[in-house]
Symmetry: C2
Subunit: 248 residues, 2 copies
């Protein structure tokens, strides 16, 4: 088997080897940008996960707009969430936001995103969709043709900066105002460090959470589908399980 720390083909060359060019010191992975001024849109913001994320980010001081196909529904949900959350129709939400979280059901993922291609051009898109199926034995992973929901988003949005994050959060905990801290890490995936750094910084605004860089989009499928396992954990232990990355 392959251990996470025995990676011969990706190990850096011995730094003292003759002919090795001097390398700039690695950037501190915890040196993240100030994101407090960014407007965050949440597509699918009237669903449980979308509402929960919108609520937590707004409560942490972020300006949040939730989007829905029907503006009236977005406005109603926004009013319920308080904390300055606004509600707009999806296209308007995308246009008005700097960072757009996609929290729609998997079934509507491709269609919703494709329809907003223009509005999402240039935006930082955070896909948090988990493609899952359910049967009598519980949940199971669905593999999208593109590899993952995030890769599907990237394929449909060539002019956007697509990342993936916020897959493993409990909508119950997110939405419960009595819960002050949510003890979990958020795995953040993407191709450009500037983008994943922003998403990590956003996650870190929520008390108890850290944003942890966890690879490129081609490794998003297993992060998305791990929710099937967390569902099994939740059933067995009657919990709202999250994940913490240790030694980091």
């Amino acid at each position: 088997m392959t251990s996470a720390d025995s990676t011969p083909s990706t190990a850096p060359a011995a730094s003292g080897a003759p002919g090795t060019a001097a390398k700039a010191p690695a950037k501190d992975p915890w040196d993240l940008p100030d994101v407090s001024g960014l407007v965050v849109g949440v597509l699918g913001g009237t669903g449980d996960q979308g509402r929960g994320l919108a609520y937590r980010l707004a409560r942490a001081g972020q300006k949040v707009i939730i989007g829905s196909r029907v503006a009236e529904r977005a406005r109603t949900a926004a009013a319920e969430l308080g904390n300055g959350v606004e509600g707009l129709e999806n296209a308007e939400c995308a246009r008005s936001s700097d960072v757009v979280i996609v929290a729609v059901p998997w079934e509507g993922h491709a269609k919703t995103i494709e329809a907003l291609k223009g509005e999402l051009a240039g935006k930082l898109v955070v896909d948090c969709v988990n493609p899952l199926g359910f049967d009598k034995k519980g949940a199971y992973a669905i593999t999208p043709e593109e590899g993952s929901a995030a890769e599907q988003a990237a394929a449909l949005l060539p002019e956007s900066r697509v990342t993936a994050a916020f897959h493993h959060l409990s909508a119950v905990l997110l939405q419960d105002p009595a819960v002050e801290r949510i003890d979990t890490d958020v795995m953040v995936l993407g191709e450009a460090r500037a983008d994943t750094d922003i998403v990590q910084a956003l996650a870190a605004r929520i008390p108890g959470m850290r944003g942890i860089f966890a690879g490129r989009l081609r490794n998003a499928h297993q992060v998305e589908s791990l929710v099937a396992n967390l569902i099994s954990v939740n059933r067995r232990y009657k919990a709202h399980a999250g994940l913490r990355v240790t030694d980091v």
Copy 2:
């Protein structure tokens, strides 16, 4: 998106509903069997991960036999590990063990297992193999035809009790005698509770570790391939990352 706690099709029926049969109280998920008398074999026990697991289990008081294609190599590694570890040729190792951990490289997985079909009949097999590929961009998941390494093992070993576990451990930490505790949870997958309970109990023998039930074998692929993400974490944070399940 689907939250881990919003699972309409798998939610239990309301317990007070008319006509609902009285249900036995759920078994305490932490009520695990005493496994201290079981002999644990480790196929691939001369590799880094196999050695590390063998060392930790033996140090915790378990009787451990490491297996190798070449008996002499197994004996040498066993002598180095101490703690009563024995070394035998693979088939002899499988025959002499109650629980057999498969820790061979993915490339040799099918072949090794197939050759031991007879010896592994009736045994509790714990697959901890991560099918990964590597290129210039790092690690990426490989999807076996059967869905996962564990499902491949189950297909090749119809008379064995196949489970999957121990995927996310750092071989560096496992093998370092100065490390007293390894703060991580072990996701355990399988079809029969009696079997996954044994594997969870084995994991719990190692200080710092808990064995957490995390679903059926059909959900093993994402657990196996998550190591690709941990490799990215380890590179970015210069860590030996593990995973802790929160709220459990």
